[in-house]
């Protein structure tokens, strides 16, 4: 493992990779669970509710430990892509398992945020969307855009928390930032330097995620603000 500034950049990149992959997976699963738990089919709704309760109730640390132990003893299949910088290719399966566990750790929380945002639109708005006669996907897109005002801020907060959770990957031989801080501090005994670099990098990445969410919030809110004011005839 590289220990200097280059090492910091490599590990920050590794953390961003794990965060991005697990966040996309978590967001996709959360949308599915939010739709399922708001639907009319009882069996599907109960299943989605159960999945949300379990993923919200079990700590991410335990999910990561379970996934890591499950994958650690198994060889990584040749077909499995290895997008994780710094992690040896033979441990790609462990990195993917940890990524999936991290995603599951945030899925329930994100699903509740999405469901609450959807419900906050109110029955009248939801009926309007149905009356428009759009297909299910276009209707979902329209409602997601409408609900974005209520959901983007808590989603941003959760995605920052999700970034912090990527540090659990250090429990296994998967390259990421916290593992780099730990190893650097333990190898060189220059604890202050490594922890300061780690804190700086995490704070910066958290700030970037927050700014990204605010940017999306601004973009989605902009058209509504640009609408001309209704002038009475």
């Amino acid at each position: 493992m590289l220990l200097g500034a280059t090492g910091l950049l490599h590990q920050a990149l590794a953390t961003v990779t794990i965060w991005a992959l697990s966040a996309v997976l978590a967001l996709s699963l959360a949308v599915a669970l939010a739709v399922g738990s708001s639907g009319t089919r009882t069996a599907l709704r109960l299943l989605a509710h159960g999945a949300i309760t379990v993923t919200r109730g079990v700590p991410t640390s335990l999910l990561v430990v379970g996934a890591g132990i499950l994958a650690l003893g198994r060889p990584s299949p040749a077909w499995l892509p290895d997008p994780f910088p710094g992690t040896p290719p033979e441990l790609a399966l462990v990195a993917w398992a940890v990524t999936a566990a991290l995603a599951l750790g945030s899925t329930g929380h994100l699903a509740v945020i999405f469901r609450t945002g959807y419900q906050s639109l109110g029955p009248a708005r939801l009926e309007q969307a149905t009356v428009l006669g759009l297909g299910p996907l276009r209707r979902l897109g329209l409602l997601a855009r409408e609900a974005a005002a209520a959901t983007l801020a808590p989603t941003g907060t959760r995605l920052v928390h999700h970034l912090h959770n990527t540090a659990f990957a250090a429990l296994f031989p998967v390259a990421e930032l916290f593992g780099w801080v730990q190893e650097g501090a333990n190898t060189t005994f220059d604890i202050g330097r490594y922890t300061t670099a780690g804190i700086g990098a995490y704070v910066l990445l958290s700030l970037l995620i927050w700014a990204l969410c605010r940017g999306v919030e601004h973009l989605l809110g902009a058209p509504a603000r640009r609408q001309p004011a209704v002038v009475p005839a």
Partner: protein
């Protein structure tokens, strides 16, 4: 196995779920008290408290695991104390901001009423504003406490014998067929603890609204 998961390994008691709950309770209670002080100072003197607010914002950007590691490595605190302190600081960073936001929304009309009734500012704060703030912030605080209970699993990085550490140790020692059962039991215990906490929060909310 279940006894070890509930109260810890024989040579490390209290541990397991008992230690997870205890650490969340200590950290949560400490953070709540400090959070109330922080919120009061921030609302009372917003400009003076800018530095503290900035520090807390930075603290919110640091992962709990890193915070635990920093306190364990850079202070002379015993490992368990460093872990508890890190949990408390982490909780304070979130609770403090929540309480500050709710305290700032205390209605002006209620303040005016207190003034008309010649209630002193200190009495108004202690008997009216802070209880009102706690009632209003209960949902947000509850969500955070649930998260905190689960986040005690981060203490595993120091090897402190809370539930995740015990589950990890037992599953690493166990035969291949048993490790999944151990982890599932631990997950079930966390889930039960979270559901119990949700019940307690619902009960408290109901009592406060009556």
């Amino acid at each position: 196995m279940i006894v070890n998961l509930l109260i810890g390994l024989p040579d490390q008691r209290p541990g397991g779920l008992a230690l997870s709950v205890l650490s969340a309770l200590v950290a949560g209670a400490g953070a709540l008290l400090l959070g109330l002080v922080y919120a009061t100072v921030c609302v009372g003197a917003p400009r003076l408290s800018l530095l503290v607010q900035g520090a807390l914002a930075v603290l919110r950007g640091i992962p709990l695991l890193l915070l635990i590691f920093v306190l364990a490595q850079l202070t002379t605190l015993p490992l368990a104390a460093a872990g508890f302190a890190a949990l408390g600081l982490y909780s304070l960073a979130h609770v403090g901001e929540t309480l500050r936001a709710y305290l700032a929304t205390y209605p002006q009309a209620m303040r005016d009423q207190a003034r008309v009734m010649t209630i002193s500012p200190v009495r108004e704060l202690l008997q009216l504003r802070l209880p009102w703030t706690l009632r209003q912030a209960l949902d947000a605080l509850g969500t955070h406490w649930i998260s905190l209970l689960k986040d005690t699993g981060a203490l595993t990085v120091l090897g402190i014998g809370e539930l995740t550490t015990i589950a990890r140790l037992l599953s690493e020692r166990a035969a291949t067929t048993q490790w999944a059962l151990i982890l599932l039991t631990a997950a079930g215990l966390y889930l039960l603890a979270v559901l119990a906490l949700i019940r307690v929060l619902r009960f408290v909310k109901l009592r406060l609204t009556i």
